[in-house]
Symmetry: C2
Subunit: 228 residues, 2 copies
DNA sequence: ATTATCTATAGATCTATAGATAATGC
DNA sequence: ATTATCTATAGATCTATAGATAATGC
């Protein structure tokens, strides 16, 4: 998989109500392909499957693939970008009313970690992106950066290097989400919250305050049932 | 890539002096295939390349591939396992004389992070293993676990869950190694040391002590020139 | 004599495109 | 009339194996 270089064009189109019936039909096909790719990728861990297999899973004519993508890698990029964007939009909407940046940051992580149980397929797609979850220039990454910077400005976090801090945050989150897959009997919630506690400690937060933030009631239990 | 399930058989064979000339010839072919796979993987980020391409890169007859591996995935597992084992052996030999487990732990991380500059190909292979660097049951993972447990027992680390701690450590390290690739102008050494400082803070270590450990002189600059 | 490597190839894919069909727009 | 989808297929791989060649062991 290559880095998802270009991206938000189609996503922008998708968030507006597309004008014509024809546009909507085209979008349906594209969406079916992306969803099929996400499912296959989540199940198999890669997209090493024929384009024919993908179009069959999407219930789309084989040739239609090339109306939308010129290679499997391009489809995979689009699938990852879509997952990143819709996850970010969900977090943003759920946490819009919270003021404390440390709380927004921590609760975002707790909800993301819980995806392993609530939306296993989405979780696997996000986990696969080579850290794109927090290193891309779109999706949730800019929000996380903004939260960390605000928390530092407010004197709640201490960190010497924001880039390293972001990478470590993403690394802890993704690695412990993988851990949930490895140890299926373990509690996803406990692992996610323990991870956030670790990260807050990494940011120099006092133990009691970190524990308070990690034990806050969550605003919602699950992401909306349709991610696309 | 699947998890590297089976593994150490051949590695065990490799560490002993193989008995006969024939055994050595066979091992040479196998090693050539593994090295070629590591190189291709480091360059391309995957092994989506024909077996013929691999055997040509290894300068080995096409059919010989099947004397050693029955699929590309199997070769990839072996290549990852080899990288994990030889890296662990190097760390172990370099740090054998150090007593303080916190110091062994931290210096291992600092040296591993520096691989991005000293052995870029090895670094990419280790980075790719879905956290296998510290979650496998072989390689450096058991050593890291042992070091953390000893440090906790000695009262130098605080952590509530050793599994989460290991995963976070691996996650921080791998994610910041990726960061080095993204920002090639940044100092690999500074990023590695900052990462270890973050992790030590995550383990509840006092700031001044963490800074001391991260600034210790390194026992060596580079891994031995032949990893295989 | 045995074992590993190499060469050549049959059969099974898989990709990309061309042309036909169906849906929309006006 | 235009645009997207679908079906069918040519050409290009790619895999796995069979048989030939070369290297070792005794």
């Amino acid at each position: 998989m290559s880095e998802p270089a270009v991206v938000p064009d189609m996503i922008t189109v998708m968030s507006q109500q597309p004008p014509s019936r024809g546009q909507r039909r085209k979008l349906r096909t594209r969406t079916a392909l992306i969803e099929a790719a996400q499912e296959i990728f989540a199940e198999r861990g890669d997209l090493e499957v024929s384009i024919q297999h993908i179009t069959e899973a999407a219930d789309v004519g084989f040739g239609s693939f090339y109306n939308h993508f010129s290679s499997k890698a391009e489809l995979l990029d689009a699938a990852l970008a879509e997952a990143l964007e819709s996850h970010a939009a969900w977090l943003e909407s759920v946490l819009a009313h919270v003021d404390d940046p440390a709380e927004v940051f921590a609760t975002s992580m707790r909800l993301t970690g819980r995806l392993v149980r609530t939306r296993p397929q989405t979780a696997r797609v996000l986990m696969s992106g080579r850290g794109a979850l927090l290193s891309a220039s779109y999706g949730h990454a800019p929000h996380a950066r903004r939260d960390i910077e605000a928390a530092v400005a407010a004197g709640r976090f201490v960190t010497e290097d924001i880039e390293v801090a972001l990478a470590c945050t993403a690394g802890c989150l993704i690695a412990t989400m993988h851990l949930c897959d490895t140890a299926p009997e373990a509690s996803v919630e406990a692992i996610a919250d323990q991870t956030v506690l670790n990260v807050l400690r990494m940011f120099g937060m006092q133990d009691d305050e970190a524990r308070r933030i990690v034990a806050l009631p969550l605003p919602v239990d699950e992401p909306p049932s349709t991610t696309l």
